[in-house]
Amino acid sequence: MNWELVFTANNIRRLLIGDFPPALGGVALTLTLAALGIVASTIIGFAIGYARFAGSRPVRWLATGYVEFLRNIPLLILIFWAYFAPPYFGYTPSKFGSVLVALVLFNAAYIAEVLRSGLLSVPVGQIEAARAVGMSPTQQVLYVVLPIAAYNVIPALTGRYITLLKNTSLAFLIGLTELTEIGRQINNRLLTAPIEVYATLLLIYFLLNRSLSAGMGLFEDRLRFNRVFCRFAK
């Protein structure tokens, strides 16, 4: 085992931030992709999930078609569409942009499904109570239905976020210098220590994912605490 070959100051630096000035890479780029992807796909996914649940009939059909289509093709195909197809139409996308778009569209489909199951789990009594105290339909959705649904789906969302973080590794197949690509470059340069390099990568991803799920767990505990003690923000 040649761990000292892998853990040189230069390699560690590259794994963490890539060739930072100028090109951000490594763990930093992976986390940037994941963070942007999580925020955007949650927003879009919630919109589609809500549309599928409560939209008019054509809207529901569109949303269902979107979800069923994107859940049944590989993310890699989507990334290839986003990166290799636009040049045929006279537009050259950036690597980062295409990966992000593909990641967001793909995971939004799953998050839409997650939210839909959450919406189905909202007890009818809650909605009746909201109506009884005179809330308008918009208020019912914003203050009662969506908060309860979002709280109920936190565990399922955590699973999706972890998958999204894992999915960022696919970006290396079009040459974006995120963590996997940096690892591959280090491996190609060393040649003699593949196990050490890739085991390091596995370990880094493992730690990132465990911290993500631990963070979501803390967030959920916090929300539960606020719920139990009725500490709602006013």
């Binding site: 859940r71 049944n72 195909i77 290396f172 197949l173 996997t180 690892g183 491996n187 990568l201």
Partner: protein, 233 residues
Amino acid sequence: MIKLDWSILLGDGGERLIEGAKVTLQLAATSLVLALVLGFLFGVVRWLQIRPLEPICWLYVEFSRNAPPLVQILFWYFSATVVLPGWAIVILRDYGFQFVAASFALGVYHSGFVAEIVRGGLNAIPRGQYEAAQAIGFTIPQTVGSILMPQLLRVIMPMLTSEAVSLVKNTSLALAIGVTEITYQARYIDVYTFRGVEALLVVTAFYLVTCLAIAGCGSLLQRFLQRNRRIAA
């Protein structure tokens, strides 16, 4: 808007895609079998809570689920050449070394999920079922065969189906180590003819049809498993 030229899919291009589809299905089948075997094994062992094995199983399941499948494919592919003895590599090379590495990695990755599904399903079977089986004098094989398995499969079949679908989708990652599956062939056609949109369209349709077919088979199987279900009044 570009004009699609389907003629590139006649002849060589089309043959490539058909070959690629075969490899994709083979890869999916091999890794699905491996994932089911390993997954049931680890799931049952975790459910039984055998003390000395517990940390090992936990580590296996957590690592296989939390590391990206792509990195696992690269890991097994590149480390196998270092770890395995020479004769084993010679044998594996005849089967296509990349293919073996990719199916092993995908099998391991999905076995973690299958293990958790199986454990959850086993936990969902009420204790009273085993006690009842014991009370009317069932042997252990009888209990497993006619009490445990039917209920377990009924509970876990939908989740296993979606796992199988995601496995088929993940086979596209094998192109990273040069397995000639269908996504690889689409890239090949794009690189050599500069007409990749047609090939990508075909490949997208292929995945769509395959995944929907698996989901359909899964729900048929689920209906079959539910056939004799009586709900106690």
